[in-house]
Amino acid sequence: MKKNRIISISLLIVALILMVLLPVTIKKDSTINLVILVLLYMTLASSWNILGGYTGQTNLGHAAFFGIGSLTTRLLWIDGVPFFLSFLAGGVAAIALALLIGIPAFKLRGVYFAIGTLALAQILNLTVGNIFPEMSYNPALSDYQLIPRYYLFLSLAILTIGSAFFLVNSRWGLGMMAVREGEDAAESLGISALKHKLLALIVSAFFAGLVGGAFAYYHVSYYLNMPFGPEWTFDPMMMAYIGGTGTIIGPIIGSIFFVLLKQLLVWNVGEYHLIIFGVLFILIVLFLPGGLVEAWKKIKVHLRSSPGKKIQSFS
């Protein structure tokens, strides 16, 4: 156990060093853009996982928080507010939205929560599209630099995953998982389901809002309602499931897998990645609820137990 821990910590450190050095060693913009995409999805999927995976509340409106963060940051930043302040404002706006909708939304249980949040995100998507029908352009295009954007996404991904790790290993995290396993049972032990769900929603929304702000900083021109689109909910949700919900590593694996698959298929057969991803998602929900993480564990157990079985058969 001890040895495993040392191995995983040193692997983590090596991975971090590689990520920090990446733009210095690989100077190709296309590669950096690809890694930015992975980091964006990683943050989004990890933040979805806090409420959807650890607390068991299937949030189909995650795009609302991503969108509100990007909208706030973009409008303030374009208006001349220093970037870092606009960026933080995006996260704060997402928290405000979470507080506003949290209590009424959590009156809905299970599937009603899911379709309620779906409707909410769609309301914001359509409303923002009506209010800002024009494309938003980055005015300071001449001094656009990719490297600071890369480090912004990288630190955000580390911050999100780190916070998720500490949250789920805390007392609050245990409470969240108790709520997931059975709301009534958790309540009977004195765990307030509403408080735990609200906390999970706020943390989840905050990081989604921040990564929305980073998106606003990164993208040169886009329609302001685009980040509110349903694909910003469904894609990260599928990534979390394919990697393994309710684990820290799951969304990380899922997002890397998604972007790699997308790239491979674009090169070879065209845009088939969403079809394949959808099939994989269905298979995982039906047959392997723990995702790739569980598959890996099963393989490991199988590898360990098979020599034992051979010995038995000899005797």
Binding site: L120, T127, F234, I275, G278, L286
Partner: protein
């Protein structure tokens, strides 16, 4: 003013009838199998493409192609149930609803992207010769295509109701809804009932798709909009209530047309969604449903 108010009402009701029809299949499936098929809008889309294909290659009038889109979607529904949804039957109810919801989302992603491959992202519609025709009664316009919505919706609603009340199979379906364990004890094959209900629901989505292709236009990304409309109608009318879907459809239709008239037509979808959230929060049993005991 009274004439325009009448117009809002008439338009709302005629569009609402289509909404009711879109929700009919979803409601039947949810009521019987407890599967919340959020890929319903994608099935509507495929129904639209079937009629479009019949219209452009065979020259078949869209209303005459209704049996074709029903049959094709019935088969697709049966296939999807057999392949995917039948695997969730044995799960406990809450897990089952959640898992089928997720699976249906995966399915909607697949169907949408397949449609994109096959038919491209272009918006298409069926332009039959009679599309612009309308007649006036007391200053209120009645477009024929919209009137047909009401006729087709009422026809399928009554047909479904008769099927469920009068036939042996229909009674088996209702018995399964009331208590599936007791139903299987008296010899009803639950798997067949679920398969039939799911296929019928898909078939009804196909019919609705034909009407959508005549009334509006179709494109691969339209699914979510129509799934949401069906969900709104289902919640307004009471979950799983068959006559409730028509009432819910009419309410949504009138709400949308009133919003278009008094505020702005860009906000009509938003009005429906807000209504949906309010009902979900304050009356989750539906506007006319009774509170569960």
């Amino acid at each position: 003013m009274p004439a325009s108010l009448g117009q809002i009402l008439v338009f709302g009701i005629l569009v609402g009838a289509l909404y009711g029809l879109v929700a009919l299949g979803l409601s039947l499936v949810f009521g019987v199998t407890k599967i919340l098929n959020v890929a319903h809008g994608e099935l509507v889309m495929i129904g639209g493409y079937v009629s479009l294909w019949a219209f452009s290659t065979l020259g078949l009038d869209p209303y005459l192609s209704i049996p074709i889109s029903f049959a094709v979607l019935f088969l697709i529904g049966a296939f999807l149930y057999r392949l995917i949804f039948s695997r969730t039957v044995k799960l406990p109810e809450e897990t089952k609803i959640k898992n089928t919801l997720l699976v249906a989302f995966g399915l909607s992603v697949i169907l949408q992207n397949l449609a994109l491959r096959i038919w491209t992202a272009d918006e298409r519609g069926i332009t039959a010769s009679y599309i612009g025709i309308a007649f006036k009664v007391l200053g209120v316009r009645f477009p024929v295509v919209r009137l047909a919505n009401l006729v087709v919706a009422v026809f399928f609603l009554v047909a479904l109701q008769l099927f469920l009340r009068k036939t042996y199979t229909g009674k088996a379906i209702r018995a399964t809804v009331q208590n599936w364990e007791a139903a299987s004890l008296v010899g009803i094959d639950i798997h067949k009932v679920y398969l039939l209900a799911f296929a019928l629901g898909a078939g009804l989505a196909g019919v609705a798709g034909t009407l959508v292709a005549v009334n509006y236009s179709i494109q691969p990304s339209m699914g979510l909009t129509w799934t949401l409309k069906a969900l709104i109608v289902m919640v307004l009318g009471g979950l799983g209530s068959i006559p409730g879907t028509l009432v819910g459809g009419l309410i949504l239709g009138v709400t949308e047309s009133a919003t278009s008239f008094f505020i702005n037509s860009n906000y009509r979808e938003i009005a429906g969604l807000i209504l949906f959230l309010l009902v979900l929060i304050f009356r989750p049993q539906g506007l006319f449903g009774e509170k569960e005991g």
